[in-house]
């Protein structure tokens, strides 16, 4: 734990694998930029890895970072909890940042709690928003100014909690993928690269990695402009083919509610919601999805939401912009027909 340090920087953990940055540290830089500007402190990115990471520093600077703390060591080539947490704890101890953010990825959710435990500081998981604000503890007249408001859904998405951490710093949070906007890259930005010692010579790496296999993600929900999702109301694996067909004719990605995934209609890669992917497409079509909070938490930021459900009381209609009350098995074929002919009409008009 470090003392409260108002001059401390805002840091982002720049998760990288195989010499490539994932999307989430870049998303974090957009939020980090906003927070550090508000606090009037530099925005730092912590970049760890083997010998392939040096070129990534420029990408981080172009996306908003002022300082890159770069640590290269063979023991950091592949992510492992112990050496990564050791290096970052030392950096925190030495440079006393006031805020450290991590992506709520499998790596971030393994690393951040380990660091929080070692540093004896607070950590809030899976934040969907971060703000700067003041906090007055109950029964205490002290107002703690300019704290990090760590905002997250809790209790299965039924409440939104704002968490603060005012006495044991740094203030740390993991942030859900896809909820922060990806910043534009600006090649003209300049920044400083600070090369730091790993200090791992005496550290034993406890895990031996026998095999490591990464598969290309076949489903790209986060990047999709249109998503067609099905829920339990689809009624069967065969009926789910209709969802795929509608998606194909719109050039859309296929999503599913947790219920649809649990019922085996579609694989977990497609799951939208609290325990799946958070999406913000231009158009989201929810078919046979009742709209449990866990699902809504992952899609309510969509530009336009269309709900098709046989139950007029389904909560999904309350977040939808457009809706059809009816059996999706009847409605979707009509939709497909209308879209196909509608598209040809538009084309005809353009000629």
């Amino acid at each position: 734990m470090i003392e409260v340090n108002r001059q401390g920087e805002v840091w982002v953990f720049a998760e990288a694998e195989g010499g490539e940055l994932s999307d989430v540290p870049l998303e974090l830089l957009s939020k980090g930029r906003e927070l550090s500007d508000k606090l009037g402190v530099p925005l730092g990115a912590v970049l760890l890895g083997g010998d392939k990471i040096a070129p990534l520093a420029d990408t981080l600077i172009a996306h908003g970072a002022d300082k890159i703390y770069m640590v290269c060591d063979a023991k950091l080539d592949h992510y492992q909890t112990a050496p990564y947490s050791h290096v970052i704890c030392n950096l925190i101890e030495a440079r006393k940042p006031q805020i450290v953010m991590y992506g709520a990825t499998p790596i971030g959710r393994d690393l951040a709690p380990t660091i929080a435990s070692a540093a004896k500081c607070g950590l809030t998981a899976d934040c969907t928003d971060l703000q700067i604000g003041d906090h007055k503890p109950p029964g205490d007249d002290t107002v703690h100014k300019n704290l990090l408001f760590q905002i997250r859904p809790a209790f299965g998405g039924n409440i939104i909690a704002t968490i603060v951490n005012y006495d044991r710093w740094p203030q740390m949070a993991t942030v859900r993928e896809g909820v922060m906007v990806m910043p534009e890259s600006d090649e003209s930005r300049t920044g400083e690269v600070v090369e730091c010692e790993a200090g791992l010579d005496d550290i034993e790496v406890p895990l031996e990695i026998i095999e490591s296999v990464r598969r290309e993600k076949k489903v790209n929900l986060k990047g999709a402009r249109i998503i067609v999702s099905g829920g339990a109301g689809v009624g069967g694996r065969d009926n789910f083919e209709l969802i795929h067909e509608l998606a194909r004719c719109l050039g859309a990605e296929v999503g599913g509610s947790r219920a649809a995934v649990d019922l085996g209609y579609v694989s977990h890669d497609h799951q939208v919601g609290q325990t799946g992917t958070t999406v913000r497409p231009a158009l989201y079509i929810a078919c046979g999805i009742s709209g449990a909070v866990q699902h809504r938490a992952g899609m309510e930021e969509a530009g336009k939401i269309i709900a098709i459900n046989i139950d007029p009381e389904a909560p999904i209609f309350q977040v939808a912009h457009m809706g059809i009350v009816g059996d999706m098995n009847v409605v979707i074929p009509k939709l497909i027909k209308a879209i196909r002919s509608g598209a040809s009409i538009t084309q005809g008009a353009a000629d």
């Binding site: 734990m1 909890t81 499998p106 790596i107 959710r109 709690p113 380990t114 435990s117 500081c121 607070g122 998981a125 899976d126 604000g133 503890p137 760590q150 809790a154 209790f155 299965g156 998405g157 039924n158 409440i159 909690a161 704002t162 968490i163 951490n165 006495d167 406890p206 895990l207 031996e208 026998i210 095999e211 490591s212 296999v213 990464r214 609290q274 325990t275 231009a282 158009l283 449990a292 909070v293 938490a297 309510e300 530009g303 336009k304 909560p315 977040v319 912009h321 457009m322 809706g323 059809i324 009350v325 009816g326 059996d327 009847v330 409605v331 009509k334 209308a338 879209i339 598209a343 538009t346």
Partner: protein, 307 residues
Amino acid sequence: MGYNCVVCVKQVPDTKRITGEAMQEDGTVNRAALPAIFNPEDLNALEEALAIREAHGGTVTAIAMGLPAACEVLREALYRGADRAILITDRRAAASDTLATSYILSCAIGKLQADIVLCGRQAIDGDTAQVGPQLAEKLSIPLITYLEKLDALDGDTITIERNVGNGFEIVRAKLPVLVTVMDTANTPRPPAARRIMKFKKARSCAEIEKMAEGLLMGDYEDYTAELQAGEVEKHCARLEEKGLLIEQWDLDYLEADLSWCGRGGSPTKVHRIQSVVLKGGEYKEYAGDDTGVNELVASLIKDHTIG
């Protein structure tokens, strides 16, 4: 050789089954109306431990931190095959965040000489997935998150396949280790009827005290004249003789540093809680017939959402 497995289990409100009864008029959730259940992924952790005992021998200890009501999940662990159940309960542990919780659990596990500590990946009430990693750090043992499959356990070496989201990794480590277990790792066995018969009367001292005060009268058939007479200790001793006493540890027994426990030991504080209320906005309904569908599609094409 056998392995001593310690499984951390948590009693949680069933946030995934929010039915009409739990929904309040204003669209928020009445938490008290939700049933308390065994955290789902902790069942997977327990199953993994039971499978290790079956294959290699050893013991399975289930440990829960919470109110005396959490004994319900400990009994459930006994029904499913755990050898021993320990409740950590203490008013001074209330309002612990994940850091304080992992500290208290580490004090308890420090007394148990565990070879393998197993936790569910995360609990469905907080979904933080933090206690497992923090507990490993506090115990200074290697952390292996997201266990998908136990590949091998040989002497003091464990080999595990872990699910890293976009693929998998096979890692090897020397015991002791802490693993967090995914819900996809296994199918938890159901409670055994024979064990239910045996352990349904297993109780912790805190429960027995409540029974003696008559507070749990309706819930327990074994509310006896002995208890009515306030003879709690005698009753506890009899349960212990029969192997039916759920051990109960408090912070004094754990020799925990109180400054790291409970609200005071928790760096994270709640600034505000807001209920999620369904947002209402502009909404247009279309008919499910050809006319309605065509109208809807036409409006999407018109504003360039599609086409």
